[in-house]
Each structure stands twice: as structure tokens, then as C-alpha cells.
Symmetry: C2
Subunit: 266 residues, 2 copies
């Protein structure tokens, strides 16, 4: 059982930043990453569709024998977690919202905390609930930023267009004087420099990849399912493997060899 892989699921490639943090923290584990690249983005879809797609994607990982599931996609984490836990019990399922909320509270214990995310994540209010579960009185303000994902994917992460769009989304949030800003979508860290320029350096930007990796480590230690041996990783994708390997290496921070990428149909 300890040799079974850690499964990571994301709507596309953004979740590779979470895999990157996991690989840095857990040097002896096997990882299998599924990117539902044919059906991305999840952030503009209805909760019903996000749940259905998430259960299908997780099912493909479970079939390949995993000991733990990480939902690296904020949108799926926000909407589908209870359904995934029920569908695949007793498999441990870790989301990126809870660690992100904890990191935000660590950075700004009294708030207010600002959250930027996809439409679906904002509408699901999962970050608001997760923050209030720890600190009922902390103010939370949210803003959906639908143009950030296409900007990041087109590499328009700095310059006048990125800044104008960032001002459009962030200026109303900043009027609330938050001390921490949660980057509640795995694509947003690509725009970190522009976001930081617009909100000012006194606002802490919270990216949940590192804290999610820490949660995974804690859970493996508790369940005594840590592995010993050499790290390995592979990928499942629902659209073209070539594009995944090419664009994905930006998020993963290392090359993605094509022989590790298997196209599947969900």
C-alpha cells in the first residue's frame, strides 16, 4: 500500500505547481497527475458539471491504485470535495482550499482577507467557509477574475494589458484594505509580479501549493503510509500530450518527457 502513488487531479496544467511543491517535499513518493485538458476550464462551468467531471477524473486515478488523492484544482476543491470523499471512501482526499485558508490566516490573523478565484470558486464560497471555520469574525472579500486564466495561458503576465485587467479586478478589493490576498486559482501565481505591483507589497500573496504539500506530508505520516524508495512521476491527459508537455513544463519547473504522458478518454 505504501508503494501506491499519490494521485493529483486538476482541470489542466495549473495544478502542476502543486505537483512541483509535492515533489520538493516528498522525495520518495510515486506521483500520478491527471490533467483534464480536453474539458478545461472548470471555473466557468456549473457545479453539477464540475462534480461529474471531477468524479470521472478521480475515478481514472483510483483505478490506477492510489493511496491518497490531491485535488489541485481550486474550482473542483471548492465544489466537488464532499462528493469525491463519498464516492471513493475510505481514500483520503486533500483539497487546496483548506491549506490556502490556513496560510491566509497565518499571514493575516485578524483579516480582512481578500480572495481572488474563478467564478465557480467565488460562487461556491468555499474559501469564505474555510476561513470562517477557524476565525468566525475575520472579514473576507472575494472577486472572480475570469480574464486571469487566459492572460496567463497566453503568457501576457506583465505589461499594460495585464496591469489594466488587474486594476479592474483588484482596485475594488483593495478598498477593503486586506492584509492578505489568496491566489485562489493555480494559474494566478503566474501573474504574481503584476498582482503585487497593483496591490502593493504590504499585502501578502498566499499561494496554497506549499501548504497543500505540507498537509499531504502530515496525512501520510499520520496514516503511516510514507514510502521509501526513488521518486517517480507520470501523467494522464484527456487532450493532446504534446501541448501538455510543452506548456506544462513552465508550471512544473522541469521538462515533461513525452513517454511519461499517457492520453486517456474520460
Amino acid at each position: 500500500m505504501n508503494d501506491a502513488a499519490i494521485g493529483i487531479f486538476d482541470s489542466g496544467m495549473g495544478g502542476l505547481t502543486v505537483l512541483r511543491a509535492l515533489m520538493a517535499r516528498l522525495p520518495n513518493e510515486n506521483f500520478i497527475y491527471l490533467g483534464d485538458t480536453a474539458r478545461l476550464p472548470y471555473g466557468t462551468k456549473s457545479p453539477e458539471t464540475i462534480i461529474r467531471y471531477s468524479v470521472q477524473a478521480a475515478g481514472a486515478l483510483v483505478k490506477r491504485r492510489i493511496k491518497l488523492l490531491v485535488v489541485a484544482c481550486n474550482t473542483a476543491s471548492s465544489v466537488a470535495i464532499p462528493y469525491l470523499r463519498e464516492a471513493f471512501a475510505p481514500l483520503p482526499v486533500i483539497d487546496v482550499i483548506t491549506p490556502g485558508a490556513e496560510a491566509a490566516l497565518a499571514a493575516s490573523p485578524k483579516g480582512p482577507i481578500a480572495v481572488i478565484a474563478t467564478e465557480a470558486t467565488v460562487n461556491g464560497r468555499a474559501y469564505v467557509r474555510a476561513i470562517r471555520a477557524h476565525a468566525a469574525d475575520v472579514g473576507v472579500v472575494q472577486q472572480a477574475c475570469p480574464l486571469f486564466v487566459p492572460l496567463a495561458e497566453e503568457g501576457l503576465i506583465e505589461g499594460p494589458i495585464a496591469e489594466l485587467v488587474a486594476h479592474r479586478y483588484l482596485d475594488p478589493l483593495m478598498a477593503q484594505k486586506p492584509h492578505a490576498l489568496v491566489l485562489g486559482c493555480t494559474h494566478y501565481p503566474a501573474l504574481k509580479n503584476t498582482i503585487s505591483k497593483v496591490v502593493g507589497h504590504e499585502v501578502t500573496l498566499v499561494d496554497s501549493a506549499a501548504t497543500t504539500a505540507l498537509s499531504v506530508e502530515k496525512m501520510l505520516r499520520k496514516a503511516e503510509t510514507m514510502r521509501e524508495g526513488e521518486q517517480s512521476y507520470s501523467f494522464l491527459v484527456t487532450d493532446l500530450a504534446e501541448r501538455f508537455a510543452r506548456v506544462g513544463k513552465i508550471f512544473l519547473g522541469r521538462a515533461i518527457p513525452m513517454d511519461l504522458v499517457e492520453p486517456i478518454d474520460l
Copy 2:
């Protein structure tokens, strides 16, 4: 057979502009429109995935007895037409590329002609082939505009952000001095004012909805399958019916009653 509906398929809601033109031109027909809203956009997907999704979507329309299929999505038209014709022969299949190319040549017989479209449409070079089939010597320049769809969907169709993005995509094209610009994605007409401002009024903007409706009329007349009776229309969608009805009325130009929208699973 004449009473069978005209099926229209699009990746989402943009194709409703084509349905609108069809309804204006053919007042006695039944229409059934399928929007694959759960899996949009098609424009960034691989040809293999676009073909698979298009055949599934068309199949759902064929099951409901249609006499003609209109592929209102430029991306699906660019990539999947031969596969759809083969899969559903002898059903007549009309795409939006051929009428768009003809309209562009009518506006600028000697060229050069500029085409803006999704990544998949540009890579498939369908507009280039369709224009050159009529006029081998006409110069064609293409540009993918991936940010135009999210801008249109967020209603950011005018103002400094839309103009900066339009300059980014269109300035290099305008260096080629085209006389016509094909709006090769059903979302782009929403940005018509901004595009026109950036390229200048001497460049004719070509939107294929009206010419596609004309092609459909011609084909029905030729096949003697025109219908007599009152017009009717209904919708199939793969994601939430509510959002389709709400956003879709902008593209269709009239209200979409919820009882005409049926959610389906492909």
C-alpha cells in the same frame, strides 16, 4: 421529411448569431440548436478532441430527426466537417467557413484578406483553403485572437482593455493592408465596434452568419425540402440551462424561454 428540423450545433452560445440569421431568413422552419456548453471552448483543443466532440454533438441532433445540419462553430467547421459528412451521410452538412470565405471575396475580390479566429481554426487553415479554392492568387493573412472570446463573454467589448488587446492582435495584420477582415469566430462580432476602430472603416468586416443562412436556404430549395408552417425552435445544452438562457439572449437577440432548453449529456 420537410417537417424535420434544421439542426444547428455550436460549442456554446456564439452560434446563436447564426441561428438568429437563419430564423430571419427562414420563417417557416423548425430549428433545434445544440450548445456544448459544458465542454466549451473548442478553439484551444486538439483536432482529435474537436472531431470527437463534434461527432457526439451532431449525433445527438441526428437522433432527433433533422433534415440538415449547420455547424455554426468556426472551430468545428474548420476541423470536423469531413468527419461529420462521413459519419452522418447522406445528411447535408453546412459549415460557416465556405460562406465566410465567399463573403470575404465578394468584399475584396483581389485581396489581401485578413482572417481572425481561434488557435484551432488558424492552425487548421480552413479559411485559407476556402478562399484559395475560389481565387488562387489572393493573399490571406491569419491571426489567432485567444483573448477575444473571454473579453466578449465578460462583456468587455469596448474601452481601453479591449482596444489594447485588439491592437496587439490586429496591428501586425494591418501591416499587410488587407481590404477585408473575416471575423472567423462567432464571438467576435460582439467586439465589432472596437475592431472597426482599430483597423479603420476602410476595412470591411465579414461576419458569416448572414451568408451561411443564405447557403442553407439555397440548399433547402435545391433539395426541395423547404417547410411550410409556423416557425419553431428549441435548445439542447450540456451545462446549466439557466446560464444558457440568460447569456444566450444577447447573441440570439430575443428571450430564450427556459421550457425550450433541455439539458443533455453527451
